[in-house]
């Protein structure tokens, strides 16, 4: 059992937990947080690729990818939060209702 395996298993579990949360929770904030947990899993996996046990150097490419990914995720989260806040302001509820939209709107 090497360290890469531990990281990969943790990363994929985080990804799955986030995905389940995204699908299962009706609350918008929880959905957005679940998305960030998914992203955390992916970033953990990417950053664990930078380390090679038989190589003293560290691979910079995965780190660059994670940095870019974090920036993208932050902006996406900010945008999703804005939408969620606006929805709460207009409708007073913080859910994506699953019933079909009103036909008379």
């Amino acid at each position: 059992m090497n360290s890469l395996l531990i990281y990969s298993i943790t990363a994929t579990s985080l990804f799955t937990i986030g995905l389940m949360g995204l699908a299962a929770h009706p609350n918008l904030i929880r959905k957005i947080i679940s998305l960030n947990i998914m992203a955390g899993g992916v970033f953990l996996f990417l950053i664990s690729l930078a380390y090679h046990p038989d190589d003293p150097g560290v691979d910079p490419v995965p780190q660059a990818m994670v940095l870019t990914g974090i920036v993208v995720t932050i902006s996406a989260t900010a945008f999703a939060l804005c939408l969620a806040r606006r929805i709460t302001e207009i409708t007073g509820s913080s859910r994506l209702e699953d019933k079909p939209e009103d036909t008379d709107s």
Partner: protein
């Protein structure tokens, strides 16, 4: 030349955000026509001299960002350019209306950002930048879908955005798997250095699921009808004609340029084909039973996107199939003709909604009498969607049917045949209302001449592309990126 395709729309986006009034429309139109000309010049260059690849800033493949343009990217770039130019022309009068004027600033800058992101998506040459560009496309597309600011459109936009983000995360995890196995991110090198181990199969699976969530294939279509139905008409046209094609383009790149053939992909390809078949029938059926014009067109997108996925079982289940080229061309042709016809339908629907003030099909009476040009547009675009000769849709469906029969996978033939009939069903449902005489004098408010013409030009393009099939086939077979050591492409 390829870098201009990214630079011009992004600059125009910034200008549109700063400028006001007429100057903003001028900047947008200038940006749109410059991008159109650059796309056309690039297409001519690739057509004559073959695929191009450039490294930005002179940094080579492992360090810098490369842009590559081959036949496939050029076709999608041209589609984006034609639809983009017409939508931009349409939007100048559309966003000078009283209700829409406050939205103009955000619309123009977001739309130019989206155009630039789509162009870079079609030119992308490494898998990680593909992820970044996908995110740019999703964010600007979701923001555009939320533009009208009603509760329904905000909800639809957020649902779309969350689905798209989950898809991007799956895609990024796939990128991680590729890097772990192949040690490179360049699309055209991964195939030769990665082999076909379990990690690569995992990567292909994650990326495919992520991308079909964004292209609204059958089980993941739930976000599409509200998002496309609630948005403003030109936004729906952009979302349906271009944004969905963006993720499909990447799917083609990944399946045919990045990964190597393996036994697993054969089964995955059959699954994709069956999902496509279900999507054609289910989406078209749902379109028939809708009563709102824009929802009919939105469900029709689900059905029409389904055709594209028939490509995978046709090409991949038999080794060195003789009908490979035909199936491949048919699906890309379908993507292009659907893009043109659907953009034209949504723009025409926008005209009808503006004229009659409602989205409900039953209250649109006598549109043939009051808006003859828009009715003609609806009919022309409908002909292309149904696949009647000599339209682009006919060429696509004809080649698709021929390759299905040649491959012996006869059950897939249900898609073009049944799908065509169902499509005729909903197109005639829209058109039949056009000739019902209106009892009340509620109809109609005037519609700007330019808006009617822009939709008509797109519809005419969707018919005319059927006559230029030779050039498209040439681009798709002889101008496909030469440097693809990996991939299923022969």
């Amino acid at each position: 030349m390829p870098e201009l395709l990214v630079l011009i729309p992004f600059t125009a986006a910034l200008l549109c955000f700063i400028l006001k009034g007429v100057l903003r429309s001028l900047a947008a139109l200038l940006g749109a026509s410059l991008t159109f000309s650059a796309s056309a010049l690039l297409a001519a260059d690739v057509y004559q001299n073959g695929a191009i690849r450039i490294s930005l800033g002179g940094w080579d493949a492992p360090l810098g960002i490369g842009l590559s343009a081959d036949g496939l990217s050029v076709i999608f770039l041209l589609l984006t350019a034609i639809v983009g130019l017409m939508v931009s022309i349409y939007c100048v009068p559309f966003f000078s209306g009283l209700h829409e004027q406050p939205l103009a600033r955000h619309f123009w800058s977001l739309w130019m950002f989206l155009w630039g992101s789509l162009n870079s998506l079609f030119l992308v040459s490494d898998v990680f930048n593909a992820y970044v560009v996908l995110e740019l496309v999703s964010i600007s597309a979701a923001a555009l879908a939320a533009l009208s600011g009603t509760a329904a459109s905000l909800r639809a936009a957020l649902r779309y955005f969350l689905t798209a983000m989950a898809g991007s995360m799956a895609f990024l995890l796939g990128v991680g798997f590729i890097y772990a196995q192949a040690g490179t991110l360049d699309m055209f090198l991964v195939g030769s250095s990665g082999g076909d181990g379990p990690l690569m199969a995992m990567a292909l699976g994650l990326m495919t699921v992520g991308l079909i969530m964004k292209s609204a294939l059958f089980p993941f279509h739930f976000w599409l009808p509200p998002a496309h139905g609630e948005a403003k008409a030109p936004v729906s046209a952009i979302l349906s004609a271009l944004v969905m094609k963006g993720s499909f383009f990447l799917l083609l790149r990944i399946w045919f340029n990045v990964f190597q053939d393996s036994s697993l992909t054969v089964h995955a390809a059959s699954v994709l084909g069956f999902l496509g078949l279900f999507a054609v029938i289910w989406g078209s059926y749902q379109a028939i039973i809708q009563s709102r014009l824009k929802l009919i067109i939105a469900y029709s997108s689900i059905g029409q996107m389904g055709y594209l996925f028939l490509l995978f079982p046709l090409v991949l289940t038999t080794v060195d199939a003789a009908w490979k080229i035909e199936a491949w061309t048919a699906c890309v042709f379908q993507a292009v003709s659907h893009g043109l016809a659907k953009a034209s339908l949504f723009l025409a629907a926008g005209n009808l909604i503006q004229a009659s003030g409602t989205d409900n099909l039953r209250s649109m009476r006598n549109i043939a009498g009051s808006l003859p040009m828009t009715t003609f547009t609806l009919a022309l675009a409908g002909i292309s969607l149904m696949g009647l000769p000599p339209s682009g849709g006919f060429v696509a469906k004809w080649m698709l049917l021929q390759s299905i029969l040649a491959s012996g996978q006869w059950w897939l033939a249900a898609a073009p045949i049944l799908g065509g009939l169902l499509t005729a069903g909903y197109i005639f449902k829209i058109l039949s209302q056009a000739f019902v005489p209106g009892a009340e004098g509620a109809c109609c408010k005037p519609v700007c001449f330019v808006m009617e013409k822009a939709a008509l030009v797109l519809a005419i393009f969707s018919i005319l592309i059927g006559f230029r099939a030779e050039e498209v086939i040439f681009l798709l077979t002889d101008r496909i990126c030469a440097a693809n050591p990996g991939g299923f492409w022969p």
